[in-house]
């Protein structure tokens, strides 16, 4: 963290003593953490794999979903598709509907995200027979 500061100051000192403009090339690397940043695709793939486990159990589904909703993002349709299929394997329709409610809530003021998700998930919803909260009249009080 202090390396660039020292570098700049030494070059400054040099230019002062030589009394002529001397610009040293700025250091090419910034001092960010060297940890690898996961790309969006890797993130999505990781979660799709998590929910695709054939013998996923109810706890894992709950844990996965609650964690996913805790992130500062709305999950991609493919992750939700995987999660809904996990609900089917667990014979849990209530959780499937709850997941849809949760992502709608997660989109917050961006009202166009949820319709997009439903549009993308439509084939899965029809195949598995999952009704959206709107179909069941649960989106209004």
């Amino acid at each position: 963290m202090f390396r660039p500061v020292v570098r700049l100051s030494t070059s400054g000192v040099r230019s002062l003593t030589r009394t002529r403009p001397c610009y040293s090339a700025p250091s090419a690397s910034r001092c960010y953490s060297h940890a690898k940043v996961e790309t969006d695709e890797e993130f999505d793939a990781r979660w799709v794999t998590y929910f695709s486990k054939p013998d996923i159990d109810a706890w894992e589904l709950k844990k996965g979903m609650n964690t996913l909703i805790g992130y500062d993002l709305v999950p991609e349709p493919k992750i939700l598709d995987s999660a809904l299929r996990a609900c089917r394997r667990l014979n849990d329709l209530a959780s499937a509907i709850r997941i849809l409610e949760a992502v709608k809530d997660k989109s917050g003021p961006h009202k166009d995200i949820y319709p997009y998700l439903i549009q993308e998930l439509q084939p899965t919803l029809i195949e598995l027979g999952i009704s959206t909260p709107e179909d069941l009249g649960m989106d209004i009080l």
Binding site: A94, L128, P133, L136
Partner: protein, 175 residues
């Protein structure tokens, strides 16, 4: 310490008992409601926006009808009617997201209460003004203040920026 414990117990029996262990509520709730307080040592149901899937379903003790519905859930969901789907959802969850987000009108009660107490305080102050306080000193009467003001002008109080500055000594009137 002892009084607060007694107070809590009194509160529990006074307020929480009717709320928590009426028979209909007990039948519907899966939670073990026989002790008067909820047991925090076992997983509990909760309605949270950030936790869509709760640790336990809302209704744990299913009657035979509900158990049949649960069996039907194992078949393709396309066979379920809308009412059955709603029933399955309500077995697992007490409140939907819109219901969780619903506000209450409590603020009206609070504001009303605040105004009532402010008004009551105002009444007390007014009563006090009439029945407790005596007369105002005679030095605040109009004629005294007139004479006082004249004296202040004669004495040239604050001639630079204050009182007598505003009096025009030539025209004998306020500027």
């Amino acid at each position: 310490m002892l009084t607060s414990r007694a107070l809590v117990r009194g509160l529990k029996s006074g307020f929480w008992r009717p709320l928590s262990s009426t028979s209909s509520v007990q039948a519907a709730h899966g939670k073990d409601m026989s002790p008067d307080v909820l047991d925090p040592s076992v997983p509990q149901y909760n309605n949270r926006l950030d936790t869509p899937l709760s640790d336990v379903p809302f209704v744990r003790n299913l009657n035979s009808e509900q158990r049949q519905l649960k069996e039907k859930e194992k078949e393709p969901w396309t066979k379920l009617t809308k009412e059955e789907k709603i029933a399955l959802y309500r077995l697992a969850h007490e409140l939907t997201y819109p219901e969780m987000r619903r506000g209450s009108s409590e603020w009206k009660t609070v504001l009303g209460g605040v105004f009532i107490f402010l008004g009551f305080s105002g009444m007390l102050v007014w009563w006090q003004r009439i029945f407790v306080f005596g007369e105002v000193p005679h030095t605040l009467s109009d004629e005294w203040v007139e004479k006082q003001t004249q004296r202040m002008i004669d004495m040239r109080i604050n001639p630079v920026g204050g009182f007598a500055y505003h009096w025009d000594y030539v025209k004998k009137q306020w500027k």
